[in-house]
């Protein structure tokens, strides 16, 4: 059906969304449609003849079913009404039986509408029957005593369940309390949430071996005393050294210095020489030669950095092509490598070396020399014209005619 022109727009009317808990906004168009649907459904439901099949519970029930369908909206109730009646199979309330009897009498008549209306009134009066609730049935005193034991068992069950639950809760609580007590006994504090492995902990009980402990303490104390004395000695030695040098004359000092430097050089010579473009590992700025250093540390610090060769070493880099001549071979082929090699190669100055070198086209045959004889190394700029004589023009002479010319 085309959208009704109630809104006077060309836009399609969007269906209103269902939002739970919110009353649906009434749209006149939709209202009309739904009401039409309802009216269509009701006569349809009324017109459907009750099936005669025996699988259905009973005539009466079906009739009641149909009346219910008439009362409420079309599709949903059929299934709903069926279900409670199936539950209540064999259990018929007084009001229902009267209704069904009435129905049974006039069920086959054609005037369904009349029946419907009457049924509606009656069924609306006992709306309780629509719910799947067990209506209380009267039991005579004799039969009551038979049924008596069942009812207390229900309440008993409830009580039992509660008791069970309480007991379980108690048991849990008990277990937790016990665990806490055990943990506290073991010394674990409740603010301490890390698990200390008991094997890792060291034992700090005293007096396990008094003699050994005392001996250990004596050793420590002696070391401390020794350390103190050595600092004193060190200071003394330095003071003496300063005194000595002060008392020496200048020449003696220079002699000592020279000897010291030579000794240093000797040490350095023992180490290797740096190769061409060798990878250079700096020792680091914090190489102080303290006494508290490990043997390994000392060895590492005094290593021969220049003479070290390692497994992946490329050897002599002079034979490599220029592209591969880099200090750090791990950068080979990687992005972002600058072409900078070292200062010497980047230098564009001519430090007097070129003048003494052979000309480029010296030994080459005459045919292959450039046209202008020796312009190989010279300036190649665009405006590179040697400064020559100023070209005198004839009309130029009168420019500065007032001044005398002295050229």
């Amino acid at each position: 059906m085309p959208p009704l022109p109630s809104r006077m727009t060309k836009n399609r009317a969007q269906p209103t969304r269902y939002r739970p808990g919110k009353a649906e906004a009434d749209d006149p168009a939709s209202d009309e449609e739904s009401s039409e649907e309802e009216e269509d459904a009701r006569p349809v439901a009324a017109k459907a003849p009750p099936p005669k099949a025996t699988s259905f519970p009973s005539q009466k029930k079906l009739a009641v079913d149909l009346s219910k369908a008439g009362q409420q909206s079309a599709s949903a109730t059929k299934t709903q009404a069926k279900a409670p009646h199936e539950d209540l199979e064999g259990f018929v309330t007084a009001s229902e039986s009267s209704v069904s009897e009435g129905e049974g009498g006039s069920g086959s008549s054609d005037e369904e509408g009349r029946e419907e209306s009457s049924e509606e009134e009656e069924s609306s009066s006992d709306d309780e029957a629509a719910k799947p609730m067990l209506a209380p049935k009267f039991i005579s005193k004799a039969k009551r005593t038979q049924q008596a034991p069942t009812t207390p068992t229900d309440s008993d069950k409830a009580g039992d369940e509660e008791r069970l639950r309480r007991e379980k809760a108690d048991a849990l609580l008990q277990a937790q309390l016990e665990r806490e007590a055990a943990a506290r006994a073991a010394g674990k504090k409740y603010w301490d949430d890390d698990d200390i492995n008991p094997e890792d902990e060291v034992d700090d009980t005293d007096d396990l071996d008094p003699e050994a402990e005392r001996a250990a303490w004596k050793l420590r104390e002696l070391k401390r005393v020794k350390r103190d004395r050595e600092t004193i000695e060190e200071k003394e030695r330095e003071r003496e050294e300063i005194e000595r040098r002060r008392n020496m004359s200048v020449e003696e000092r220079e002699e000592e210095d020279r000897r010291y430097i030579e000794a240093q050089k000797e040490d350095r010579e023992g180490k290797g020489k740096m190769g061409y473009m060798q990878k250079y590992f700096h020792k680091g700025a914090f190489d102080f030669n303290g006494e508290g250093q490990d043997e390994e540390v000392k060895r590492a610090l005094n290593r021969d950095l220049a003479g070290a060769r390692f497994v992946d070493d490329t050897g002599d880099k002079q034979v490599l092509p220029e592209y591969m001549r880099m200090r750090d071979m791990t950068r080979l082929g990687k992005k972002g490598r600058t072409k900078y090699k070292d200062l010497k190669d980047e230098d564009t100055g001519r430090w007097g070396v070129d003048m003494r070198r052979k000309r480029e086209f010296e030994g080459v045959d005459e045919r292959f020399r450039p046209d202008d004889g020796y312009s190989g190394n010279q300036r190649t700029g665009a405006n590179d014209v040697a400064v020559g004589e100023r070209r005198r023009r004839d009309d130029d002479s009168g420019r500065d005619g007032k001044r005398t010319r002295y050229d």
Binding site: W191, D194, D204, D206, E213, V225, D228, R229
Partner: protein, 263 residues
């Protein structure tokens, strides 16, 4: 003797920051009106990172709230180990938290002395805690030395928690670290003049070792042997000085080590 507080400053109960839920008021620069150590907030002796870890820890929040000097004693006697921060998350030890609390409280000298001496006789971790506080809080170098040096004779074991695991150390070793090293228990210790410097200035006497007479004997033995053969044990051997500066001259030694331990 109130050596910790600046002269003339009364300590009012209201300025005691001990009962704040966390140390933030005490850490706040603007509002601090408590005692000063070296002219600054005592809590600033710990670095910011360490301070944050302490204040965020469970131990601090649960156990160190509202402590005073007496109740701190209860906590301190429950201490099991010393240490700074440990683990990946730099968790502070209870020892460090209590030291922080002590700095917050800045108790009197007498109380600290009590912790060190009488309390420390029975509880070695309390002694370690008080020694740590003394090293941090006392401003005069000679006082630090004179207070801590007697405990170089206490050789009880201490359990120490490092970043990686556990270590055994001793009370005398710990005190020695406090006097010599620059960083102990996650704190950079304030600068302390070396003992030699103080001796030269005559502010301190040369140290009397707890070994005392035994040291003298060793020295004499080595002195005799040094003239003859060279010997492995060169402790006490000096270049021409038989008894050096570090050794007392035949003073009557009471065996100070005996009086030190509570065994």
């Amino acid at each position: 003797m109130r050596a910790i507080y600046p002269a003339g400053k009364q300590l009012l109960p209201t300025t005691n920051m001990a009962h704040q839920a966390d140390a933030r008021r005490a850490l706040d620069e603007r509002g601090y009106t408590g005692a000063l150590i070296r002219g600054d907030n005592p809590l600033k002796l710990f670095e910011k990172a360490v301070r944050d870890r302490i204040v965020d820890s469970y131990y601090w929040k649960e156990q160190c709230f509202g402590l005073n000097a007496a109740t701190l004693l209860d906590r301190a006697v429950e201490l099991n180990f010393i240490g700074g921060t440990y683990g990946v998350a730099q968790k502070p030890t209870p020892f460090l938290c209590l030291a922080f609390k002590l700095l917050q409280l800045t108790p009197d000298r007498e109380i600290i002395e009590f912790y060190l001496q009488q309390g420390g006789e029975e509880f070695k971790y309390l002694r370690a805690l008080a020694a740590f506080y003394v090293r941090l809080a006392l401003e005069k170098d000679e006082e630090v030395y004179s207070t801590l040096e007697p405990f170089l004779g206490d050789y009880r074991k201490l359990k120490r928690r490092t970043r990686e695991g556990w270590q055994i150390t001793y009370v005398d070793q710990f005190v020695d670290d406090l006097l010599t090293k620059s960083r102990v228990c996650a704190t950079t210790l304030p600068k302390l003049n070396p003992r030699l410097f103080l001796e030269d200035e005559d502010r301190l006497e040369p140290r009397v070792s707890a070994l005392g007479e035994e040291l003298e004997e060793l020295d004499n033995d080595d002195g005799e042997r040094a003239n003859g053969q060279s010997d492995d044990n060169d402790e006490g051997r000096m270049n021409g000085h038989v008894d050096g500066n570090g050794l007392a001259d035949s003073q009557p030694e009471d065996r100070s080590d005996d009086s030190m331990n509570g065994d």
